[in-house]
C-alpha cells in the first residue's frame, strides 16, 4: 500500500504559550531565511545586516522618531479600519480617506493661517475627520441601500481622491513650476503640531494612544460595538435581534472614514507639512494587514505597526548601506511577513507523518 507521506490535521485549540512559541519560531525562521538570502545575494554577514537594520530604525534619535512616526500613522489608520473590518465592511479606501483629510488640512493651513494656532488645530482636526467620513459615506450609503460591493467602491474612491489631490497640488503649487506644494507655512509654522519634549510627533503619539483606548472601549464595551460585532458575524442575526443593519453600516463606516481622515491630518500637519499624491503612500493598504493580523485588538495593532515600521526603515537602511536597490529590502519584508502569516497555519493545523501505530 502506498501511504500519503504528510497529512494535515486540524488542531482543537492551542494554549497561549503554544501560540507564542509558534510565532517566535516563525520569526526566528524568517530571520534565518532572510539571512541566507542576504548572504547569497550580497555576501555580507547576516548579523551585520541585522545590526544595520536595527541602527537604521533606532540608531539615532531622529531615526527612532521617524520610525515611531511611521508606526503612529499605520496605527491610526488601522484603528480607523478596525470597526469597518470587524463589521466585515471591506474598507480598502483608507488611501482616499487619508488624502481627503490631508487636502482639507492643507487647505486650512493655507487659507486660515491667521485665525490662531489653537483654533486652527481644532478646526483642521474636525474638518479632516468630516472629509474622511464623507469619502467613506458614499460607498456606505450604496452598500446600505443597494447592497453594492464596497470593496470596489471604496477602491475606486481612492483614484478620485488621488486626482483631486493632483488638482490641489497644481493649484497650491509653490514655488511655481515645481509641481509640488512645498512646505506650507514654513516661516510661521501655523497649523504645525507644536514641539513637545523636543519632538513634533509627541502630539501624534498622544492622539494615537487616545484613539487606541477609545477604539478598545468602543468595540468591547459599548452597545455600538456589540452591534458591529453582530452585523459582522451575520446580517440575518442582526435583523433577528432587531438591529437596523443599514444604520449600523453607515454609522460605523462614517467613524472609520473619520479616523482615516484624521490620519491624513496627522500626516500633513503633524509630519510633512505638505500634501502630495503620495501622502498616504500605500499605508491605507498596509494598515489592512495590521488590523487583520491584530484581529482588531488595539494594543496588538500598535505592536504590529511598530514591527512593520521597524522593518520598513531597517530594510531601507540595508538597501542603502549595502548598495542594494529598494526591491531587495522589499524582499526582506516579504519573507518576514510570509513567515508571520504562515505561522497562523501551524496554529490552526498540524502535520502528521504517515500513520501512527500501524496495526499488522
Amino acid at each position: 500500500m502506498n501511504e500519503p507521506i504528510l497529512r494535515v490535521i486540524k488542531r482543537e485549540s492551542m494554549s497561549f504559550k503554544g501560540k507564542l512559541l509558534v510565532r517566535a519560531v516563525s520569526l526566528i525562521l524568517a530571520l534565518l531565511v532572510c539571512g541566507i538570502v542576504i548572504t547569497l545575494i550580497t555576501g555580507y554577514n547576516p548579523i551585520t545586516v541585522y545590526v544595520t537594520m536595527a541602527q537604521g530604525a533606532f540608531g539615532t534619535k531622529t531615526r527612532a522618531w521617524s520610525t515611531i512616526k511611521e508606526m503612529l500613522m499605520l496605527s491610526c489608520i488601522a484603528i480607523g479600519l478596525a470597526p469597518a473590518f470587524k463589521m466585515k465592511f471591506w474598507n480598502v479606501g483608507a488611501e482616499g480617506q487619508i488624502l481627503i483629510g490631508g487636502i482639507v488640512s492643507a487647505g486650512c493651513m493655507i487659507y486660515l493661517s491667521n485665525i490662531g494656532n489653537a483654533g486652527l488645530f481644532v478646526l483642521m482636526c474636525i474638518l479632516s475627520a468630516l472629509a474622511g467620513s464623507l469619502w467613506a459615506f458614499l460607498p456606505a450609503l450604496f452598500k446600505a441601500k443597494f447592497n453594492t460591493n464596497e470593496t470596489l467602491f471604496t477602491l475606486m474612491m481612492n483614484y478620485v481622491a488621488i486626482q483631486l489631490t493632483s488638482y490641489f497640488v497644481a493649484k497650491w503649487e509653490n514655488p511655481v513650476g515645481s509641481n509640488t506644494v512645498g512646505v506650507i507655512n514654513q516661516s510661521g509654522h501655523e497649523g504645525w503640531f507644536p514641539k513637545i519634549f523636543g519632538t513634533q510627533y509627541f502630539i501624534s503619539l498622544i492622539m494615537v494612544i487616545i484613539l487606541a483606548v477609545f477604539m478598545h472601549i468602543y468595540l468591547r464595551y459599548t452597545k455600538h460595538g456589540y452591534e458591529i460585532a453582530v452585523v459582522g458575524e451575520s446580517e440575518n442575526t442582526a435583523r433577528y435581534a432587531g438591529i437596523s443593519v443599514p444604520k449600523v453600516v453607515i454609522r460605523t463606516v462614517l467613524l472609520s472614514g473619520a479616523i482615516c481622515g484624521v490620519a491624513g491630518f496627522m500626516a500633513v500637519a503633524g509630519a510633512s507639512h505638505t500634501i502630495s499624491t503620495s501622502t498616504a503612500g500605500g499605508r491605507g493598504f498596509t494598515a489592512i494587514i495590521v488590523a487583520w493580523l491584530a484581529k482588531f485588538d488595539s494594543a496588538t495593532m500598535l505592536l504590529i505597526s511598530l514591527l512593520l515600521a521597524f522593518l520598513n526603515s531597517g530594510s531601507s537602511e540595508i538597501a542603502s548601506k549595502c548598495h542594494l536597490n529598494d526591491y531587495a529590502s522589499k524582499i526582506v519584508i516579504g519573507i518576514i511577513l510570509f513567515f508571520i502569516l504562515g505561522s497562523e497555519f501551524f496554529i490552526n493545523y498540524k502535520l502528521v507523518r504517515g500513520k501512527k501505530g500501524e496495526k499488522k
Partner: protein, 512 residues
Amino acid sequence: MAAITFEHISKRFGSVNANSDVSFSVNKGEILALLGENGSGKTTLMNMLSGIYYPDEGRILVDDKPVSIRGPREAYALGIGMVHQHFKLVDVFTAAENLVVGLEPDKKLDRKEIAADIKEICDKYKFDVNPDKKVYDMSVSEKQTLEIVKVLYRGANILILDEPTAVLTPQETERLFNVLRNMKQDGKTVIIITHKLHEVLSISDRVAILRKGEYIETVETAEATEEKLTELMVGKKVDLEIERPEIEDKKLRLEVRNLSCINNEGIKILKDISFDLYGGEILGIAGISGNGQKELLEAIAGLNLIEEGGSVKYHQPDTEDPVELKGMTPRRIRDLGVQLSFVPEDRLGMGLVGSMGMTENMMLKDYNSGRGIFTSKKAPKELAEKIMEELEVVTPGVTTPVRRLSGGNVQKVLVGREIAASPTVLMTAYAVRGLDINTSYTIYHLLNEQKKKGVAVIYVGEDLDVLLALCDRILVLCGGQANGILDGRTADKQEVGRRMSVIVGKEGEGHE
C-alpha cells in the same frame, strides 16, 4: 463474502475521536444500515471509505484486499460511490453534464451516448431521469435520484447513501427504497446512513450500530425492534413516548389572515395563508423543506415583508386587544410588549452569534434596553449560568464562543434564551434537527412545559412521527400554500405526506 471490511479504523479531529477502533464488515449484495446518533461517527467512517478523509489508524479491505483510498477518484476506481447528504451537483448543468463532470477526459463528450447510458441505468433500476433537465429546475427528490444515477454511471458496485430520506416525503422514500431493493437484486452492495428507526427496519438486511465513535455491534434486521436499536444506539433504555398534555382553557393568541410573501428573487413564496393560534396548544407545521415554513415564521416575527392584504393580529393576554404586527420590525414588536420568541432554523446564522460566548448571546435581543452607551453584562451572565446549569449545556464556560459547542448544546442555548424571555408565543423551526435522542426529548419536554403555561407554540418539524405525536393541530404547507389543518390526534401519516406534495381541494382548507 465481505465487500468491505473495516479493521481497527480510528480517526481524530483535534481532541475529538470521531472513530475509534472500528472493525466490522459489509457483505456483498446486502443493504446495511449504519445507525447512530449525530456525532457517532457514521459520516466520518463513510467519508474514509469514499476517499474524503484518510484514517489515522487501521485499514480498509475491499473484496478482502487491503486498499489505500486517497481520494474520491480512487474510491470510484474501487467501485465505491457515495451520495452525500448535501448534493454535489452543478446547478447550471443538465443531468447528463453532471454525470460526466470530473471524469477523465479521454473521450469526446457524446450526449447521445450518455443519454443512452442514463436510459439503460434508469430502466434497470426503475429510475426516472430526464438527461436534458437543468439541475436548478429539479426538485430535491429528482436531484437525489440524479446523484444515485451519477454514482451508478461511474461504475459503483458499493453505494453509500448519507441520510437520503431526510429530505423526502413518505411516498418518495418508499420509491427510493424500491430502487434500493432493485439494486440489491442486481448484486450491488448498499450502505445507508440514517437515524430513522422504522426505515432501518423496513429496508435493511443488517444494522451496524455506532455510538460515540465506537462500533457497538451488527444485528440482523429481522431480529431487531425499535426499542432494542434505540438502546444500542443511545447506550441505555429510552422512553420513546412523547407526551401530549390536554389544555382546557385555550385563548386566541395570533390571527393570521391572507398572509403572502415574496422572497429576494421576487418569487411568491407564501400564498394567502390563514390560521389561528391559541395559547396552550402546539401547532405543528409540516411540509417538505423549502415550502415556505421558514418564511412564514420570519414574516410573523417581522423579518419578512408581508404583502398588501395580509394581516397578523396578536391578542394581548391581559386586555385581549388585538395588535397588528404587519409591517413592524422585530424591535418595534418587542417595544410594544409582544412577547414573541423565535427559535429560527439557522441557529448560528440567525439565532445566535457564533463567535460570541453564551453571555453575549443572552443579550442579543435586549442589549439595548439599559440606559447609557455601555452594555451591561451582569444580568446576561447570570442568565447564561442559569441556562448552562438547568439545561446541562456542555461548554467550558459562558465566554466560550458558542460556535465551538456541539449542535445539541447550541440549540439548548438558543431555546433556553427564547424561553427565558417568558414568551406568550413561541415559534420554533426544526428545533430538534441534528440533535441526539436525549436532547430531542429534552426539547419536546420544554415545549410541552411552555404549552402547559398557556404559551402558544408553533413547531415546524420534518419528522412526521414526531409531529403527529407532539402537536395538537398540524398545518400542512405545500408550495407556499396552506394545504389543510389536521387534528394531530386523528391525522394519518400518509394523508399528511400526500398533502405535503399535492394541493387538495378547497374542502380541506377549513381552519378547524
